[in-house]
Subunit: 197 residues, 2 copies
């Protein structure tokens, strides 16, 4: 097979994930990943700074996609519905369900990768908050809506990955309903004990 | 002044924070911190693994305190109200407002410290979720309630730090009301566009 570069990035991601799962993240080298994808190490470094980043390429795609999707929501939409409408389009840039499931398993098995994932998610939150502020939302509301939206997104993705037949939009609706159930359960100001400090 | 060890930990935290602010985090050494607190380096290492941890001692106190506070909430209370009731008691273990404000400034100025803070907050979330599960809450609801609760706690702490006259419980009530306003703004399942993937 020739060293054909079509979809080099996707092939490198697949190869990396396959090897991380098969022989462990720490024992996998960039040389092995490139070889498995039938590409050169040089091609690898054209796409990724290091082997770790082969797991996080999707985060940047998602970030860009969601900012564009937020901009496309009608201007008079509230902060949280704006985020949920944008999230509903996320599968357009998702890797396959099988890929994301394997990726989760690799990350769950490796604390430094978990930390990297936290940082990427925090960066996504910052970007989404900024996009809401850009639309005229005040910063505090934008931040709160983003934190809540990210909680719904996390639950949605978990559900969607766990069940092969689950549609993403359906999982998103179920998770939004769960959000309402959790908040309906008594968070009114008066429900907080009235001791003062 | 004798090398009196009373409240050594608090003095070391204060000394570290003072020096981080005055001369920068990177340029501050453990030797300088110990000297500023009129203690030995050996005392420092009795309390902290390294200079970074002098900023995060409060996180562990808070974690332990909140787990105990959750256990003290009546058993039939919902997940989110349980967390909010526990959060209302958080000032019992807080450092002073001035300390927390300075600490925030040091962390905001240093990306590796921001990452450390993210990791500590994620660890706190895990512990709170586990405490809710322990009380009989299902894992998904516990996780969602914790994510939402942490969003409210973040906003509350921001408010409380920013305004010297703000009571913590009052800030918590205001933030809980903000949560209701954000979620009331149209997250019902039907409000998510009905495209399927």
């Amino acid at each position: 097979m020739a060293r054909w570069e079509g979809n080099a990035r996707g092939r490198l991601e697949q190869a990396a994930l396959h090897l991380f799962n098969e022989q462990g993240y720490d024992r996998t080298t960039v040389a092995q990943i490139a070889q498995h994808a039938n590409l050169t190490e040089r091609s690898f470094y054209r796409w990724f700074a290091d082997k770790r980043e082969a797991l996080f390429g999707g985060s940047e795609d998602l970030e860009k996609h969601l900012v564009a999707a937020i901009d496309a929501v009608p201007a008079d939409t509230g902060a949280l519905p704006t985020l949920l409408a944008a999230f509903a389009t996320a599968p357009e840039v998702f890797r396959s369900r099988a890929f994301l499931r394997e990726r989760s398993a690799v990350i769950a098995a490796n604390p430094p990768l978990q930390e990297r994932e936290l940082i990427k998610l925090a960066s996504l939150s910052d970007v989404l908050t900024a996009a809401l502020v850009q639309r005229g939302c005040d910063r505090q509301t934008a931040r709160l809506a983003t934190d809540i939206g990210m909680a719904v997104l996390r639950l949605t993705t978990e559900r969607w990955m766990a069940d092969e037949r689950a549609g993403f939009t359906q999982a998103l609706s179920t998770s939004a309903a769960d959000l309402l159930a959790v908040t309906a359960d008594g968070v009114l100001p008066g429900s907080v004990p009235a001791q003062e400090t």
